[in-house]
Amino acid sequence: MFWTSYFLAVLALVLAWPVPVLLSRAEWPSRAPFMAMVLWQAIALAGGLSMIGAMLAYGLEPIGDNLIAGLRSLAGMVLHNEPTTALGFWHLFALSAAALLSAHLVFTLLLTYVKIERQRRRHRELLALLASPSDDGPGTVVINHDSPVAYCLPGGARSVTVLSDGLMAALEPAELRAVLIHENAHLSQRHDLLLWAFAAWRQALPWFPTTRLAQVAVNSLIEMLADDVALRTESKGTLIKAIAIVASGSASPVEQFIPPATGSNAMSPAGDTWGGTGGTGGTGGADSPRTTATRVSRLLSPKPPLPGALRAMVLAASAMLLAVPTGLLIVPGLLG
């Protein structure tokens, strides 16, 4: 138990700082966005689990040989008023901290959900009054706004993709199709759930580097995943053009968007971002500048997808991350 708690504490520390820093700097996630997404989820889950697990294992050490036995003794103390004299001050402190942290994580997750839902309901209400249905299929509406804007508002059967007048005017039909496929990919792959979970994770532990880096990475990875879906049917050029036009906020973005061949970098910064998964506040669905840049660069100079062996390694690493802390906590109890 003692060594378990030490090991889990080290694991929690490693997952809270060096690992996410390295992963966020790595180049391969843009070559295998789905694998990278799996790995980020594994890091977050394993990080939380080992943080709480380390404190539990430390706190329960005097009253049980393993976690399950320890929890049983603890339940006896709490429910049947058995003496707690076996536990020292630091044991009690660790146990309280573990309970508080668990409750904090669950409550933040729920609270974030309620906040997002409330905002989405309000957004949907206003859309019902402001937007008109579009010809581009059910679940697509057009709103009267000059900037080129596209985003989706997740909500199960009531999911809706919103396009602005400005977008319809600026894009060719094929480009518009690419935008719609991109947004629909966000909806069908349920990216809103990922955004919700990582937004809550960051909200709960804002001072941990891992939560901020994970949120930024996930925002960017879902855009790549949606781009990849659009690329199945639309050409790369169409998609890049659509992104460029939306990012620059006008139909003729070139002058401001690309450095002239002479190398002068004079440009007028203006424009809107191409929103991600209906990030109605708090979900952080909108593109960050860095995301747009990564997306376009990835399309302009495509790198080969990650080889199968490396993909398998990432998957195995993710599985290990989840299995090791879970195993350490539970297996001794099951064997004993």
Binding site: S164, E255, T280, A293
Partner: protein, 128 residues
């Protein structure tokens, strides 16, 4: 009878289009005119539409914070809290996030794009 949702939309359209506050009676008349003119989905709604229905719709809109009434006068006069354009701007702001560095999108992009990438972009956008 049109659904409450459609009526809410019709009422908001009238309030957004009108310059000054209107009573429920006035709104009912305008809605009746509209449906007579367009003869649309709610073709026969005009005659049947009761003022109480309009009041229900108005109180729903008030609850949503979209409509306010002047309490001094009888009957109450209703008006939109903010303009259509303001609401649209709010929605766009919400959808795109606060993005404080939105202006930096292009600046950053310029920094990260290589010369060959820039050439490809120029070709794609047909401005070479």
């Amino acid at each position: 009878m049109a659904s409450l949702g459609e009526l809410e939309r019709a009422v908001m359209d009238l309030l957004w289009a009108g310059q000054e506050a209107a009573t429920a009676n006035k709104l009912r008349d305008l809605l009746a005119q509209d449906s007579a003119a367009t003869d649309g989905i709610a073709g026969h709604q005009g005659k049947d539409l009761a003022v109480t229905t309009v009041l229900t719709v108005l109180s729903r809109l008030e609850k949503k914070g979209l409509v306010e009434r002047e309490r001094g006068t009888r009957p109450h006069r209703y008006q939109a809290v903010s303009s259509r354009a303001d609401h649209t701007a709010d929605l766009m702001h919400e959808a795109l996030g606060s993005a404080p560095d939105r202006e930096a999108v292009l600046a950053r992009f310029i920094g990260s794009v290589s010369e060959s990438e820039a050439a490809t972009l120029r070709k794609l956008l047909g401005k070479d």
